[in-house]
Symmetry: C2
Subunit: 392 residues, 2 copies
């Protein structure tokens, strides 16, 4: 039969992503594409212990149907976890999600009608753009500089577009690596309150700081319920477990909890129990230090190599944390054909264009430094730098 798909599925174009995934799966390729944690960064022994603990002592609680809001012990442990992050919460402020990606989907489901506007950073996380578009929302870009979103332009764009949501990744942004400073965060929050708009604060990388001082989350400034905060455990425990959390006003949580019931009933309980125990035992804090040490070496190696091998005039970001470095090359270079050439030399990255709501910016690209070894970073960046030099 001929299928009549929904309007929201029209214009679904993820060929670029699929091509890249295909590229990165060849074993000989040094891949700076993707956004995977290092295979060395998983707390394997802890996960084994926690799994055995629950299957031995509380099997029914992790194998039976659970609450859509989340596994009780995890909800209670999240209160402590967020208190340590400077956020006062109680258990009614959370819904546990199947990864923080489901958090984006659930917030969209609760808030967005077709044609609603979402303001996004330019550039921003490409799967968030895909998600907003899958709700038939319009994504409009707010200008950014190398310190993140520009509050004055945010206010202009609110006046112009009357948006429903403002989507921000304030820490070590994907794809640029930029961290929004405290003053700008305050301004963004005040603007959101002034115009009655929700800020969706996505913070998958907040724990991955390698240098500099932590900046308070926008959610920690929220006295009005204008901020919804997304926590991911993919980068500090394991992405394969698919556990994240939404932190929001209780009224929002009730709506999202209801949407969650029909989306997947609840997030897998054994997986929630592992994360719960990770917090409860304090292992999360010692493990995050290990990850930071591991990734600090990698980012330093990559920025050193980029300094050595990229041609003069090529910009690359030097983030204080996260997983990504952003490059802006000479305007005559298009990073999509560049990727094809690089792939033939067994190096992969992601072209910058799909990170922009309006496309364009063909001269940009994103590099991931967490999933490659130091040797791969040195080798791959030299190959890439030498290739780029031939274009200057």
């Amino acid at each position: 039969m001929n299928y009549a798909y929904s309007r929201r599925m029209e214009g679904e174009q993820d060929n670029a992503i699929r091509e890249i995934l295909a590229l990165t799966s060849r074993p000989e390729v040094i891949s700076f594409a993707g956004g995977m944690p290092s295979a060395d960064a998983f707390p394997l022994d802890f996960i084994k212990e926690a799994t055995n603990y629950y299957l031995e002592n509380e099997p029914i609680s992790v194998l039976q149907y659970g609450s859509s809001q989340g596994f009780g012990p995890l909800l209670r442990n999240l209160v402590t976890f967020f208190a340590n992050k400077g956020l006062k919460t109680d258990v009614e402020n959370f819904v546990v999600t199947t990864g923080s990606q489901e958090g984006i989907e659930l917030v969209c489901k609760a808030f967005l009608n077709p044609s609603d506007v979402v303001l996004v950073e330019s550039p921003t996380y490409l799967v968030a753009l895909k998600t907003f578009k899958s709700f038939e929302a319009k994504c409009e870009s707010v200008e950014t500089d190398h310190e993140g979103v520009i509050p004055e332009d945010l206010e202009e764009k609110i006046k112009k577009f009357n948006p429903k949501l403002i989507y921000l990744i304030p820490n070590f942004q994907n794809p640029t690596g930029t961290t929004l400073n405290e003053e700008r965060r305050k301004k963004c929050y005040e603007i959101a309150v002034k115009y009655n708009v929700i800020i969706l604060e996505d913070d998958p990388y907040g724990e991955l700081r390698y240098s500099g001082q932590a900046v308070p989350s926008i959610k920690s400034m929220d006295e009005t319920g204008n901020v919804i905060y997304l926590q991911s455990f993919s980068k500090i425990v394991s992405p394969g477990l698919r556990v994240g959390a939404i932190v929001a006003n209780k009224d929002i949580i009730r709506k999202i909890d209801s949407a969650k019931q029909s989306m997947d009933v609840h997030t897998a309980s054994l997986n929630q129990a592992i994360v719960s125990r990770f917090i409860e035992t304090g292992e999360v804090y010692t493990h995050v230090e290990k990850i930071r040490d591991l990734y600090r070496k990698k980012i330093n190696t990559m920025t050193d190599c980029l300094g050595n091998y990229l041609p003069d005039g090529a910009y690359f970001s030097k983030p204080d944390g996260g997983m990504f470095i952003w490059c802006e090359l000479d305007g005559k270079i298009n990073s999509i054909p560049l990727l094809k050439e690089a792939a033939m030399l067994n190096v992969a990255f992601i072209p910058g264009m799909p990170f922009y709501a309006e496309g364009g910016h063909a001269n940009t690209l994103r590099l991931n430094f967490t999933s490659s070894s130091l040797e791969q970073i040195e080798k791959g960046i030299k190959v890439l730098g030498d290739l780029i030099k031939t274009k200057y």
Copy 2:
């Protein structure tokens, strides 16, 4: 701030369900509400073994990001699993889902625009109704009798409403327990083809047959790609693991895979690996026999007790499988106040009204027999029967 939720969240009424969940959580209540498997039905030793196997031997494959379509070994094992169920498939016919509930959500996301019509059985699974409504679809009922959906009325309703989807639970239907016979399945399929409509065949209970002969799935008759089949592993492995699968034409699978990327990236990999090994080792088949033996005793006890304790003239279904028995009481009885009275006597069930797209049918109720012990069933049905007798 005042929140402007999406239109799809308007009229969200799940107070009835919430009240019931609140009732069933009191430990002294014998609950025939809910739809939970027996705590004795989980293959705990197998789950421990499978978990240890993967964490020892292939930790990265279950802890790292995975494919949105599903865990490779599970996709391959699903081909065998479905071959044994009389369904010829290959790996490109599947998307693994976070429970089969996510299967419903994903099919809605791929197909439904606001105001589209979904034809449903009258009555049908209440969370499916909630899901369709969350996509702003209109649910229209097709008449059923004690043998399931009536094909002639299905054709009438297709002509009248021009639906996008027909949602059917052909095996041991939720809530009625009815199984659609082979002849009616064929007719429903032919009608779907004739009018170019998708049948969404939800089969969470198919493996739970206690008497009679298996009936071929509608999907097994599908030569045109009109049928999307939903498999659940919640009832034969564990609902807490949240693993299900969509079986469909490859074109549909590509769309759903794309929607899955923004919904939750992929289903938790360790959980998929456990299910994969459950199939691969053949444990699924021996375990299903154990569950059947366990539940056969329970359903027989419940139907015996209903025969003994319900007043003459009260109807109850005698399903060949599944988890539910359906009761139709005298027309003057309303099962919502009846539930309140029963709860005071420490017995719970679900009133039938929320299972009807158009409401009404206040004299009906659903009983679950899988999660209570034989003693609880005997005690609880006597209490309930005695209470109902006072209304006749």
